[in-house]
């Protein structure tokens, strides 16, 4: 059978969302970044807010996020995306502003910007990819690396007596008065993807309410950095990451009394 006999509208079950550019993703096969990008773009498309959305890319694997997302974007210095987003939103309060950051960016070098943007209650959405490792620089220990987990800078496993403890920054942020919605999701199964999309949609919708930061952590794999096949990485993530970083809502908006 010729391939052109298969490529027909009636056979189409899945397609590239319109807001993806034609640029092939630079992420490793099996990585959660691509799926999370897609979910964000689908939400922006479905909400019809392309002309009102500004994204902020981090330093890390997603440094080139602006190459793949067909929206106006800024590329921030390492860890500073929440500071950029703060100014963008305050100068243009009617726009939708989101940051997209990894664990090294958001929870190590950018901790001050993260905490203060969240504590001030900036009316922005923050998407946080937590894969417990520095992916782009080749698999070094991250603030979120699990105890005992091997990385290139903890080659015998993270010894917390020497290297300190992993940081559950999402729980920390949920305690701040300026966060409105804080949730932890994953994108490794169809079910998880559906839930994550709903969370991202909520996070964008809440910007309309002007109530503070909407924060979505996505616990993701890094099969290259973890040195596993994608399937093994997902299994390892379920068995090791999820017990330490349990999925689900951490802070949900209190319904206002009628």
């Amino acid at each position: 059978m010729d391939i052109n006999e298969i490529i027909k509208p009636e056979n189409l079950v899945y397609k590239k969302t319109k807001l993806f550019t034609e640029k092939p993703l630079s992420y490793c096969p099996g990585c959660g970044h691509g799926t999370t990008h897609r979910l964000i773009l689908e939400v922006i498309e479905e909400m019809g807010i392309v002309s009102d959305t500004i994204g902020i890319a981090p330093v890390g694997c997603a440094v080139l996020a602006y190459e793949f997302m067909d929206i106006d974007m800024q590329q921030a210095a390492h860890g500073r995306a929440p500071a950029l987003a703060t100014a963008v939103k305050r100068l243009m309060p009617n726009k939708f502003v989101f940051t997209y950051q990894g664990d090294g960016d958001l929870a190590a070098i950018g901790t001050a910007e993260t905490i203060h943007a969240c504590n001030r209650g900036e009316n922005i959405t923050m998407i946080f990819i937590n894969n417990g490792i520095y992916g782009m620089t080749g698999g070094q220990m991250a603030p979120t690396t699990l105890p005992g987990m091997k990385t290139s800078t903890s080659p015998f496993g993270r010894d917390v007596r020497i290297m300190g403890n992993p940081l559950k920054i999402t729980e920390l942020l949920a305690n701040l008065p300026g966060t409105y919605y804080v949730t932890r999701q994953a994108v490794h199964t169809p079910n998880a993807v559906r839930k994550a999309k709903k969370a991202i949609r909520n996070a964008f919708e809440y910007q309309k309410l002007n109530k503070g930061v909407s924060f979505v952590e996505v616990v993701s794999n890094c099969n290259s950095g973890w040195k596993m096949t994608p399937n093994d990485a997902n299994k390892w993530m379920e068995e090791n990451m999820f017990p330490f970083y349990p999925l689900g809502d951490i802070k949900v908006p209190q319904l206002e009394k009628a």
Partner: protein, 361 residues
């Protein structure tokens, strides 16, 4: 003529920002420049012009807020003093790399390290030679009066937008803290979003259907593309040198010798010129107003009929290097500095001048 007000240099910067229609100020307290943020907070421009004023959690956050705002084509600025400006260097490099207009005000204090809070000009190299990493320059203005602190805000923004490059006002603790009368300009309305989009078609304000997406970045992984980008930036600096050099000549026309000084040092050096002239000595003052681009060509012209020049600055010898380059070794150039927050007196400059050029005191 506009209203006259008695103000501190730092307050003049803040007032000028409001009156120039600036969209956002992001700062962090540090002596001797905190009056900029204090004046803005006290005058609540967010209730009148709609200007955003925010005290950030650090100088690092403040400069990155400036980056975010500038990326939207907005007129945004920050101010700080030496240690805080060091913290901003990464952000300034990103501004230059991403070709963003912005204003950074440095009210310089004594250093290195925590130093002290008295006036200094020890940040000249940092301001004029790049400061952060990578190949870039800022457009650097050096005010020597409170009026210039006010007036230079508008000039700095004009050049920042003309070149899509950060501008700096390099002041010092004396100019920032001293009070003088200032002529206040009329209120310029802030630009409308439509005007901003027209002026800054590159701004990230949300992608409409009728244009490609806008991206603000300083990342070009292909070295040949990066080289092209650096050449584009370099061309701006060459154009600045041709079109936007500012300087002042005081009694230079018949001078046999000159002092070269900027900022607060230039005020003191002017008194030295008066002392010398009373004694019949033909001394003049050449004051660079733009420190980058340095008025090299203009200084070279002046130097043609001179016997020598003395660079007077509150540093161990920074601007003097640009003076020597400008005069191309045609005349002797000496340096006379005071350091760590101590300022010259006019008489000690005069004595130094005499000992260098007239064979002793």
């Amino acid at each position: 003529m506009g209203d006259l007000k008695l103000m501190k240099g730092n307050e003049a910067v803040a007032e000028a920002a409001i009156r120039a229609g600036v969209d956002g100020y992001f700062g962090y307290p540090i002596t001797p420049q905190s009056e900029v943020l204090e004046h803005l907070m006290a005058n609540k421009p967010y209730e009148t012009t709609g200007m955003v004023v925010l005290q950030a959690e650090s100088e690092v956050a403040a400069i990155n807020m400036v980056y975010g705002g500038a990326s939207c084509g907005r007129m945004v600025m920050t101010s700080s003093s030496s240690p805080g400006i060091s913290l901003k260097q990464e952000g300034i490099s990103y501004l230059a790399g991403s070709e963003l207009p912005a204003l950074i005000v440095n009210v310089v204090r004594g250093g290195p390290g925590l130093g002290d809070i008295q006036p200094s000009q020890g940040d000249y190299f940092q301001a004029t030679k790049g400061g952060g990493h990578g190949d870039y320059r800022m457009y650097v203005l050096a005010p020597s009066s409170v009026q210039e602190m006010y007036d230079f805000v508008k000039i700095a923004f004009d050049k920042a937008f003309k070149y899509r490059n950060p501008s700096m006002i390099l002041s010092d603790g004396a100019i920032g803290q001293m009070m003088e009368k200032v002529e206040i300009s009329e209120q310029t309305p802030r630009r409308t979003p439509e005007e901003i989009e027209k002026q800054c078609p590159w701004a990230t304000v949300g992608k409409p259907t009728n244009r490609q997406r806008n991206i603000i970045t300083s990342l070009y992984l292909d070295p040949y593309v990066q080289e092209k980008h650096v050449l584009k930036i370099k061309a701006k600096y060459e154009r600045m040198q041709k079109e936007d050099v500012l300087y002042e000549k005081i009694k230079c026309d018949d001078a046999e010798y000159i002092l070269v000084a900027y900022g607060s040092s230039a005020r003191i050096a002017q008194k030295t010129v008066d002392i010398a002239r009373k004694q019949g000595i033909k001394l003049g003052l050449f004051r660079p107003i733009t420190l980058f681009p340095f008025p090299s060509k203009e200084l070279f012209e002046v130097s043609k009929h001179l016997k020598g020049a003395l660079a007077v600055e509150l540093s161990t010898g920074q601007m003097v290097e640009d003076v020597k380059l400008a005069v191309e070794c045609k005349i002797p150039v000496y340096h006379f500095g005071r350091y760590g927050g101590v300022i010259h007196t006019p008489v000690e400059i005069f004595n130094e001048f005499k000992s260098k050029f007239l064979g002793g005191i």
